[in-house]
């Protein structure tokens, strides 16, 4: 009885304490104020299928000027970019007003688009012109799941450290439909643009500096260029940048049994590995995989701007030499490729096989290439090499380069193979 009374009193104490704590945290009214002030500066961006007159894609956007310039994500309007004859871009305001949007300029690498609305706006956002502070409160606008305009509070948690494409780590919920919406400080200055979420309040923003670059680039005088040509130039220039950087460096090397192999090439690569040996398995596989943490959205079915490589060391565990190599032959002829794409965007792979010898090491080498149908000069390259050295183990090293020029694909693949060594 005494025990039950003690338990009841303790529960009462906890409830009271929580009530006191809740009362002691000052309720933030910044979200309320921001929403009230800027609700007319946020739009729902809609991609409308002309035939059915129904929404095909929805996202968000925001005015950045009085004269109707709007920022959104490239991935929100990508259907229109590839098939302008089939779709139109429209907007919906908080006050239910609707209208038409026309793309002006895009930044494929950072997933941004600058559009022009068929109206002016009395309310618009200004870009942040200072650095953010870790833990700073940010407010994300958008229209999640087409259920209505919303504002979400979260915090700034720095930039993604291992990303090839700079992004803000935002601890707050960015849901589908909010892409392209602004994320602002308490003062209503745009710190970033919603671009993706990984669930559990883990979301990513395009920093506002890229919005500024995009606006500046739209003002720069230049000849009329199609959006596809714009994307092509941006992708070629981007890959030239990071591939050039990588090729300038001396590759970081790792040792795997008797082999010396390229390891983690840059900070923006994420690497992991392991060994698979189940009780019944008659061989053992040790692998190391490295991949760029981030990629570039190109179309609904295709990502690009990715480097991925994998080393697999297979050791015979009782199969016998003939059987072990029969298995290896089967594995080597089943390619593991990074990146998916559809027929409209890329050609089939064309492959070349051969046997090479470098620094006394013989390898079976396969090099495959496929072209981007809409962006001439860009390719996905895939290479796999099997070192012919030991009869009890087989080393296979595989590289995928998505969205690179032919020259960079060859330079990188050759540099890669030059660093594959066997030191028995």
């Amino acid at each position: 009885m005494i025990k039950k009374i003690t338990q009841a009193l303790f529960c009462l104490y906890l409830i009271c304490q929580q009530a006191v704590l809740a009362e002691s945290v000052p309720r933030s009214d910044a979200a309320e104020a921001l929403y009230a002030k800027y609700k007319q500066a946020v739009l729902q961006v809609r991609i409308i299928d002309k035939t059915s007159q129904s929404k095909s894609v929805i996202g968000s956007g925001f005015f950045i000027s009085r004269d109707g310039y709007v920022i959104s994500n490239f991935h929100v309007i990508s259907d229109w970019i590839y098939k302008p004859e089939r779709y139109e871009i429209r907007y919906l305001l908080n006050n239910k007003e609707e209208g038409r949007l026309d793309p002006v300029v895009i930044d494929i690498v950072h997933d941004l688009a600058l559009l022009k609305a068929d109206r002016n706006s009395d309310v618009w956002f200004k870009l942040l012109d200072r650095d953010l502070i870790q833990g700073e409160h940010l407010y994300s606008f958008g229209n999640p799941h087409d259920i209505g305009f919303s504002i979400v509070e979260g915090t700034y948690n720095g930039y993604l450290e291992k990303s090839l494409y700079k992004k803000i780590h935002f601890t707050g919920s960015v849901n589908p439909g909010m892409s392209g919406g602004p994320v602002v400080t308490r003062q209503g200055r745009v710190a970033g643009v919603n671009v993706s979420g990984a669930g559990n309040q883990l979301s990513f923003l395009v920093p506002s500096e890229y919005v500024r670059h995009l606006i500046e680039s739209s003002m720069a005088p230049k000849g009329k260029q199609s959006f596809l040509a714009m994307i092509r130039d941006q992708l070629l220039s981007n890959q030239d940048g990071y591939m050039g950087e990588l090729l300038k460096r001396s590759f970081n090397l790792i040792a795997l049994n008797g082999y010396t192999l390229p390891g983690k090439l840059a900070e923006f690569m994420k690497c992991w590995g392991g060994t698979e040996k189940k009780e019944k398995m008659l061989y053992e596989q040790t692998y190391q995989i490295c991949r760029t943490e981030d990629d570039i959205y190109l179309s609904p079915g295709q990502r690009t701007g990715v480097i991925e490589y994998e080393h697999d060391l297979y050791r015979n565990g009782g199969l016998g030499t003939v059987r072990f190599f029969a298995l290896m032959e089967e594995i080597v002829n089943q390619p593991k490729v990074a990146g998916f794409a559809d027929e409209e965007m890329v050609t089939d792979y064309e492959c070349q096989t051969g046997q090479v010898k470098h620094e006394g090491v013989k390898s079976k080498l396969v090099f495959c290439l496929r072209g981007y149908r809409k962006f001439a000069g860009l390719y996905d390259a895939w290479m796999t090499a099997v070192v012919l050295a030991d009869k009890e183990e087989v080393l296979q090293t595989t590289v995928s380069l998505l969205g690179v020029s032919y020259e960079n694909a060859i330079r990188f693949s050759k540099a890669w193979m030059e660093r594959v060594r066997w030191n028995p």
Partner: protein
């Protein structure tokens, strides 16, 4: 001619067989006619057999049966292990009885004859496939290869029962194939030759397996991976022609030339389907690369291979092919 045929239909034939079952003497018998058999020279059929009496039996044809009467002989007569003396027995067509050390067989003239055997020496150089022992050896060898191959595909420790079970569909296919040819043979020339067809199909499959293995090692040894598939397909084509030609040899009466042409045409049809399937597969978009690399133990490889520069210089050709496709799309 018609009257001759009707006369033949009524006749019976009495055949004297030697100890090996070969016919050494034949005599016609008409309905109602009586024929005597014994060692004495006044018999219709005279037997040079010391165990036969001078007048051993008399025989008369009644309807389609032969009535044999023992003439109180010393050793009597026997039929189907039963012995008779001084008695009468009835023989239907194709039945035998024994007197002394001699066997007599009665046959109606309308008794169907066994099918004429085909002389494979004249028609087909693979006549030995009629030998059941050889067929058994070939079939066992094939099963051995299939088991080895099944074993090759297993990368985990498994029960041997599973390995055997995996080969059941293949065995079923072999028998089904042989069965189809047997039925065809039965329709065409009234012969099944099931085991011969099993032998032919098994030998052809052995050829397919061995070709793949030998070519695999040979082409790996000299870095000819690219030529492996076309050469293998050619070999498969030739083996398939031989297989069909031999099947036809055991199931039709066609001359060599007709059989060969038929075999080539059938194989070409098969090859046409394969080609069509390959073309359709090639024309369909694939998100993954397609290639063929031969891989065996390093000690079986006898060439160094080309330098990296040379390999990557060759990739210009790939770029050209792809750029043409992209240009076509742009056009």
């Amino acid at each position: 001619m018609e009257s001759l045929n009707s006369h033949m239909k009524e006749l019976g034939i009495i055949e004297v067989l030697d100890r090996y079952g070969r016919v050494v003497q034949r005599m016609e018998i008409s309905p109602g006619e009586t024929i005597t058999v014994g060692r004495s020279y006044d018999n219709d059929i005279i037997l040079d057999d010391g165990y036969v009496c001078p007048h051993h039996v008399s025989m008369i044809m009644q309807g389609d049966q032969l009535v044999v009467k023992d003439l109180e002989s010393i050793n009597g007569i026997s039929q189907n292990k039963y012995h008779f003396r001084g008695e009468t027995i009835n023989l239907a067509s194709d039945e035998t009885f024994r007197l002394g050390h001699t066997t007599l067989r009665y046959r109606s003239a309308t008794e169907p004859l066994k099918p004429t055997r085909i002389d494979r020496h004249l028609r087909n150089s693979f006549w030995t496939l009629q030998n059941p022992w050889l067929v058994l050896i070939i079939f066992t060898l094939l099963m051995g290869f299939i088991l080895v191959e099944t074993l090759f595909l297993q990368t985990e420790k498994t029960d041997s029962i599973k390995t055997f079970a995996d080969s059941i569909p293949i065995i079923t296919t072999i028998f089904a194939w042989a069965g189809l040819w047997s039925l065809f043979g039965k329709i065409m020339i009234d012969r099944f030759s099931f085991w011969t067809h099993t032998g032919i199909f098994s030998l052809a499959n052995l050829g397919f397996y061995l070709s793949a293995i030998i070519l695999g090692y040979l082409f790996y040894a000299f870095d000819l991976d690219g030529a492996y598939e076309p050469v293998y397909v050619l070999l498969v084509f030739l083996i398939a022609v031989w297989m069909l030609y031999t099947h036809l040899g055991y199931s039709t009466k066609y001359p060599h030339r007709t059989m060969l042409i038929t075999a080539v045409i059938l194989t070409l049809i098969g090859a046409g389907f394969y080609l069509l399937e390959t073309l359709v597969a090639d024309s369909e978009f694939s998100d993954t690369p397609s290639y063929q690399v031969l891989l065996k133990a390093p000690e079986f490889n006898f060439v160094d291979g080309e330098p990296l520069d040379s390999f990557f210089a060759r990739t210009e050709e790939l770029k050209k092919i792809i750029d043409e496709k992209v240009d076509l799309e742009s056009d």
